[in-house]
Symmetry: C2
Subunit: 247 residues, 2 copies
Amino acid sequence: MPGRTPRHAAGSSARRILADFKVGVDNVIFSVDTAQNRLLVLLVMRHEDPYVGQWCLPGTLVQQGESLEDAAYRVLAEKIRVENLYLEQLYTFGGPNRDPREAKTSFGVRYLSVSYFALVRFAEAELIADGVSGIAWYPLKQVPPLAFDHNQILEYGYRRLRNKLEYSPVAFEVLPDLFTLSDLYQLYTTVLGDFSDYSNFRSRLLKLGFLHDTGVKVSRGAGRPASLYRFDADAFAPFKDKPLVFI
Amino acid sequence: MPGRTPRHAAGSSARRILADFKVGVDNVIFSVDTAQNRLLVLLVMRHEDPYVGQWCLPGTLVQQGESLEDAAYRVLAEKIRVENLYLEQLYTFGGPNRDPREAKTSFGVRYLSVSYFALVRFAEAELIADGVSGIAWYPLKQVPPLAFDHNQILEYGYRRLRNKLEYSPVAFEVLPDLFTLSDLYQLYTTVLGDFSDYSNFRSRLLKLGFLHDTGVKVSRGAGRPASLYRFDADAFAPFKDKPLVFI
DNA sequence: GCAAAAGTGTTCCGACTACACCCATGC
DNA sequence: GCATGGGTGTAGTCGGAACACTTTTGC
């Protein structure tokens, strides 16, 4: 934290005063519906001013004694039940006049939003409908105009998701322990669009050596049964920091 | 900003109350001394509690009506005079108990730090010594233990710098308009360590086509004079988003 | 048998590595 | 001349793209 020098704040010629902040956390929560080949983002309906009746990203204000990340996990836990997830900080939006409430507030209280990016396993994610609030998975392509600057935050989160997929093994946080290479491939194409031939994707990944063939076969409808693979985190270790592992 | 739902904050079973924040901005300001092949970071000496007499990253608290980025630019402008720079947000550190002052404060005021990463042109960067405060460029390898968690922030900033160099044309923000390919190469090796043969670096970059040879030669001591090149931002455009352009 | 999905192999080509070598200057 | 740094060229190799082909299932 801060190496702030109050001298500047209090002693400058302008004699400006410090702003007081409430800090909010907003989550961009993605999941991939591989069955329908759709990338989904979680939205909730607002029931208070401002922006009543509009969709927005799930968020909350940070409470006393609570870290930013704690707050992010709390929002998530209030909205969905899920076992496996990946979460990381995205960006902090904090200019003045970004929240209509600032105007009405007594004196100069600002609202700042620290956004988080999350990826959850779609199959096991169970939305918590509390009967009042709307909550829904929206296909990314069909997201409506959101409250605040949440469309911007979402856009930012989507960029991060694509980067994460290319460079890091996030995909395995969100796949079952055992998965087929098609599962993996589908996840990638759903998020990134067509980016590579399946057979090339396959051989490239297998050559890297951190996917272990369990030998177990699984048949899904017609076609030849597929092998179930398992991700070996230890074998992946050497590839940390190395650019462009997947893809 | 927030799609916060006060309901959670005020109405949960725990009935916890919102935290009030002061928001600080801390800058990791890098520059590259190509003459001595050193990567430098700007540090300032603290004169107030806590951590009096220790070095830290230059920072400030955000004032009323001021955006986070404005605050970041303000700190920078107070410390150095510089024309060309690159600045972007790094990360937000905001857990409770990260700042000793929180304990003493009246009631639950938290200190949160939004860190920024900057790269400035060393040759033209003139430090502003106000006679009181210590301020200095530190070679990255010789940075002492810093106040707060600033070593951690610095580490984070260094990682970002290396990534930026590989993927984006930040280097040109910090080089003169006209530069030799050796200048460019030196900058890269100083930051990244030895990463490539000079002649390969050279031909790879030239083939990409966004460096224009002005034909003007410049002689620096012994050896054959070098051509001055200019970075063509338009010609670079197609490489945005593309991975690993440099290196 | 045929379609569908999984998995294998092959060919081509561009890019990167590692050098060796030429060029222009200061002294 | 010779040391120094700038600049060019080339041979070998690795890896990715494209695509043809085989295998194993359901129907």
